[in-house]
Symmetry: none
């Protein structure tokens, strides 16, 4: 897990970094809000530990900025224990608070809670990419070299099923049973026709759909 530590005091950064790395996570550092925003633009982090009081750009403003373009969990490090700060924090999307002085153990516990929560939220994993083929499961979008392609429901379902079972040989019977449903009593060749259309839509990435003669198909990168 990649953790971004944002604090202007070197000592605090070092202590946190040590603990973060001790638990087997990667630690990255920023000395102020401005730097943190910049780093978030170019890289993805799993959690941000953000101090409130910092020169140049304070923690609250930095979080506000970052949340504009990225949905990343934030734990605030606050010197003040005031109710107002807390409320304002939650409003702008802060996930948790730790009040200074804090025990590093406490901070780590919260990181883990936030991380676990995060994992629950994006169950499936929202976007997958194979070379120039991108599938956004949440939005049901498919892109070929960045261009959106329109798939019919069945085509999308087959692609979805293929990706879920990538690298696995799938018989026509299995495809019909799992994608069409147990109550489909039609022709086997129906699969072929849909594969044909899916391949046409995937353009050059049709190569991922491999024909297994005498068996069926498989999706392989």
């Amino acid at each position: 897990m990649k953790v971004l530590i944002v604090d202007d005091e070197d000592m605090i950064r070092n202590v946190l970094k040590e603990y973060v790395e001790f638990e087997g996570n990667e630690a990255f550092e920023a000395a102020d809000g401005m730097q943190a925003v910049k780093m978030c633009k170019s890289d993805d982090y799993d959690v941000i530990l953000m101090d409130v009081m910092m020169p140049r750009l304070d923690g609250f403003s930095a979080v506000k900025e970052i949340k504009k373009f990225k949905d990343v969990p934030v734990i605030m490090l606050s010197a003040r224990g005031e109710e107002y700060d807390k409320l304002f924090g939650f409003e702008i999307g802060v996930d948790d608070y730790v009040t200074k002085p804090f025990s590093p153990k406490e901070v780590m516990a919260r990181i883990n809670v936030v991380a676990k929560r995060r994992n629950q939220r994006d169950e499936v994993g929202d976007v997958v990419t194979f070379e120039g083929l991108t599938v956004d499961f949440a939005g049901r979008n498919v892109y070929v070299d960045g261009d959106k392609v329109d798939l019919t429901p069945k085509e999308y379902e087959i692609l979805f099923y293929f990706i879920k079972n990538k690298g696995i040989a799938l018989t026509r019977e299995k495809l019909l049973y799992d994608v069409w449903g147990f109550d489909f009593y039609g022709d086997d060749r129906t699969v072929d026709t849909h594969i044909k259309m899916l391949r046409a839509n995937l353009k050059q990435y049709r190569k991922f759909i491999v024909t297994l003669r005498g068996v069926g198909y498989k999706f392989e990168v």
Copy 2:
């Protein structure tokens, strides 16, 4: 200020009511979550004090229900002080927590903090704009190229839900469950009709509402 007190214990309700009224606010009572949801549907409150453990519909579920159609500050009255509950609470939009046993004075202090914050927020008003479509969540106003359009409550709720979940494929079932409520047992096609009317009202920006054949709809910019 109108305060809704939700607790199944008469004694607790009475104590809280006394304090709320002593400070010059109006107090309203509900004995369980179900009743609270109902009351929120017909009336507006400035703050809700909500117990977690209640018969029929618990506090968390009630808050979830209420937040679907109204953005009202909620303070939870919790017997347990567990971290997990707290995190879950903040996730569904709880503003603050008071752990039992509480001093009424403490509760009143928090009501005032939450209320103050509310007033500040109203000034700003969160507004989102997609090209010429502007939605002012605080004021529940929608503008198309600057002209205000009158949406019916359902239309507004659907738009609100769409924007909260923009880019995400939403099935008719999910829409019915989340916008209409868990207790709606009507026809799927009802969604279509409301989408039709919402689209008509959004004029050219109907394009943001994308039909996903065989699935449902999604809001996409």
